[in-house]
């Protein structure tokens, strides 16, 4: 692909939906300069700056740590700031809003449901033995840190929800990131609310809805492995349940 000046160009096909004008979504093609060091976000910024100011999308840090720029690129959930044009060129790159979320406008989705689930699982520290500043830091060994560290890497980008067909079919499913975050606190030696959180994630809408498709872990840009978090929780939950059935005299 070359422009009239002979410069190489790349074609992006963008999902367009403006609720004031459109009843149905449509796709619109744009030619952007092809630079080998450009990512999809660079192309979107070029389109918005030079070609069509009405294109709407979220972004922030442009370096893969804020979780704002999640989109579908050729049918796969990706961070637009971490997806290089050169991995697709010369094929057309199709950009769509993240699957399984309602679309507000163009690439912008409504993720209220995810935010709600973070509060449902109480994705914050509830200390076992709260300490005041005077009492000093909470002590934790490297081994204790290792137990949950991987799950702290979540940037709430929601690519895992877009990849998950269970969430797509059952919006009540608590979902990969929320469960991984619940486990992040459950396995933190400083936290004391594992029983409370487990009541939520061990429900029918929690880990037991998951069928281990595994795509959540595949698309996660921070290698959190939410699928692993869910399977660990299933194993623990199964042990607890059978113990409570076979040895009901034990305390929970």
């Amino acid at each position: 692909m070359a422009s009239s000046t002979g410069e190489k160009t790349c074609t992006l096909e963008l999902f367009r939906y403006h609720p004031d004008q459109d009843r149905e979504p449509r796709f619109q093609s744009y030619e952007v300069p092809y630079r080998t060091d450009w990512v999809v976000l660079d192309a979107l910024n070029y389109i918005k700056g030079e070609l069509d100011g009405t294109v709407t999308y979220r972004w922030s840090c442009r370096m893969g740590v804020c979780g704002s720029c999640g989109m579908m690129v050729n049918g796969v959930p990706k961070l637009s700031c971490a997806t290089f044009l050169k991995d697709y060129y010369p094929a057309t790159i199709r950009v769509e809003p993240l699957s399984n979320f309602p679309v507000i406008r163009d690439m912008v989705v409504n993720f209220d449901d995810f935010m709600h689930k973070l509060t449902e699982v109480k994705a914050w520290m509830i200390p076992k033995e709260p300490r005041t500043l005077d009492e000093g830091a909470y002590i934790q060994s490297p081994g204790e840190l290792a137990e949950y560290k991987q799950y702290t890497m979540c940037i709430n980008c929601m690519l895992c929800y877009a990849a998950c067909p269970v969430y797509g079919h059952e919006p009540d499913f608590i979902g990969p990131a929320a469960i991984a975050l619940a486990q992040r606190y459950n396995k933190d030696s400083r936290d004391g609310a594992a029983a409370e959180r487990s009541d939520v994630i061990q429900s029918n809408e929690g880990v037991w809805e998951c069928t281990l498709v595994g795509e959540c872990s595949q698309v996660c840009p921070k290698h959190v492995d939410p699928a692993g978090a869910i399977q660990e929780a299933k194993l623990q939950g199964a042990q607890d349940w059978w113990k409570s059935v076979l040895m009901p005299w034990g305390k929970r």
């Binding site: 679309v103 409504n110 490297p142 797509g168 069928t211 595994g214 795509e215 692993g228 399977q231």
Partner: protein, 134 residues
């Protein structure tokens, strides 16, 4: 960001298409993996029939004769494919379920999967030896 009801009405909801599992390879492999359990269950019916007929020498022999036919050979091949899919996906997913730590060090995933494959080879050899030496 709390959407008001006016905005919610104009939001576009995109339901998952019926052929969702055919659109990307990982989803197709997943669906085949799930269906593999059904095919293995059909095979279990044959195991049941063999056990059921064992007390009757004549009928047992008739069933074994049936196994020589092209239908059963074809079915065995199909189920073998699904059984191997189940074996491989189960063992490769084992590290997801069993996360073991020695202090700070995580036991490598390849070790956990590898242990399962090793157990599979041992179990298979044991079964074949038992069948051979019966």
């Amino acid at each position: 960001m709390q959407a008001n009801s006016e905005q919610r009405k104009r939001e576009l909801v995109r339901p998952i298409p019926g052929n969702w599992w055919l659109r990307r390879r990982p989803y197709t492999v997943f669906m085949l993996r799930e269906l593999s359990a059904g095919f293995i269950a059909l095979y279990a019916i044959l195991l049941f029939r063999l056990m059921h007929r064992a007390p009757d020498q004549v009928n047992f022999g008739l069933l074994v004769d049936e196994l020589k036919g092209p239908t059963f050979i074809f079915l065995h091949l199909v189920v073998l494919g699904f059984a191997l899919l189940n074996t491989i996906t189960t063992f490769n997913l084992a590290p997801r379920v069993f996360k073991l730590y020695r202090g700070e060090e995580k036991v490598p995933e390849s070790l956990i999967a590898g242990a399962h494959y090793a157990a599979w080879i041992v179990a298979s050899i044991v079964l074949l030896v038992i069948a051979w030496r019966a």
